[in-house]
C-alpha cells in the first residue's frame, strides 16, 4: 500500500500549482483509500473463506467462530473508523477543493499563462526544449484557460 500511496503522491507533486496540488492530493488520497480497502478486505476475507469447518483429520476448526468474529470486527472498525476520520483529515489538510478565482485574478492568471505560452513558442523556435516537455508545459498552461471557461 505504501508504495502505491507514495507513487500517487509523488505524481501529484510533480508539477502542480496550488489548486491543482490540492486536487491531485485528493486523488492520491482516494487511491490510498482504494489500496487500503483492498488490503483491509482482501486478507481477512481470505481468512474467513479459507477457515474451513473442519481441519484435516476431521476435527472441528478450533475457535472458528471467534476468528470470524474478530476478523469482521477488525474490518468494520478500521473501515468505519477511517471512513469517519477521513473528512476531518481532509479538513485539517485544507483539502477543500479549488478556491474560485475572482475576475481580476482570472484575467491576471490568463495573461501570465499567455506570456508563458509565448515564451514556450520562442524556446521551441530556438530548439531549446524537448518536444515532450513542450507538450507538457503547454498542457499545463492551457489548463489555466480551461479553468476560466464556463
Amino acid at each position: 500500500m505504501a508504495k502505491g500511496v507514495a507513487h500517487a503522491v509523488a505524481e501529484s507533486l510533480a508539477d502542480a500549482p496550488d489548486d491543482r496540488l490540492r486536487r491531485n492530493a485528493v486523488r492520491a488520497l482516494k487511491v490510498a483509500v482504494d489500496d487500503e480497502l483492498e488490503w483491509r478486505l482482501g486478507g481477512p476475507v481470505d481468512v474467513i473463506v479459507r477457515a474451513d469447518e473442519t481441519v484435516s483429520g476431521g476435527g472441528a476448526f478450533p475457535d472458528r467462530e471467534l476468528l470470524i468474529f474478530i476478523t469482521v470486527g477488525v474490518v468494520a472498525v478500521t473501515l468505519v473508523g477511517q471512513g469517519l476520520t477521513l473528512p476531518a483529515l481532509m479538513r485539517a489538510l485544507r483539502l477543500t477543493g479549488e478556491r474560485p478565482w475572482s475576475v481580476d485574478e482570472a484575467v491576471a492568471r490568463l495573461e501570465a499563462a499567455q506570456a508563458a505560452l509565448d515564451r514556450l513558442d520562442e524556446l521551441e523556435a530556438e530548439g531549446r526544449v524537448e518536444i515532450e516537455l513542450l507538450r507538457r508545459m503547454r498542457d499545463y498552461y492551457r489548463a489555466q484557460f480551461r479553468r476560466c471557461m464556463p
Binding site: L13, D15, P17, D18, D19, L21, S102, D104, E105, A108, R109, E111, A112, A113, A115, A116, R119, L120, L123, E126, G127, R128, V129, E130, I131, L133, M137
Partner: protein
C-alpha cells in the same frame, strides 16, 4: 532542432533546457507579467500577492526536488 543535424555555418545550438530550468524560466515570465500589470494599475496588490504565492510555492518545490 533537438537531435537534428546541425546546419553548417550556424551558431552552435544551446543545450536543451531541463525541466527545472524551463519551469523557472516560465515562472519568471509569469512574475514579470504580474508586475507589469500591477505597475500599469491593472491589478490590485492583493491579487498579485495571491498569484505570487502560488508561483513561490511552485519554485520552492523545484528547489526541494
Amino acid at each position: 532542432m533537438i537531435g537534428g543535424a546541425e546546419p553548417e555555418g550556424e551558431e552552435e545550438a544551446q543545450p536543451a533546457m531541463s525541466y527545472p530550468q524551463l519551469r523557472r524560466e516560465l515562472i519568471d515570465v509569469e512574475r514579470a507579467t504580474l508586475l507589469r500589470l500591477r505597475n500599469e494599475g491593472l491589478l490590485k496588490p492583493n491579487v498579485v500577492t495571491l498569484i505570487q504565492r502560488d508561483l513561490d510555492l511552485l519554485e520552492a518545490r523545484l528547489q526541494d526536488g
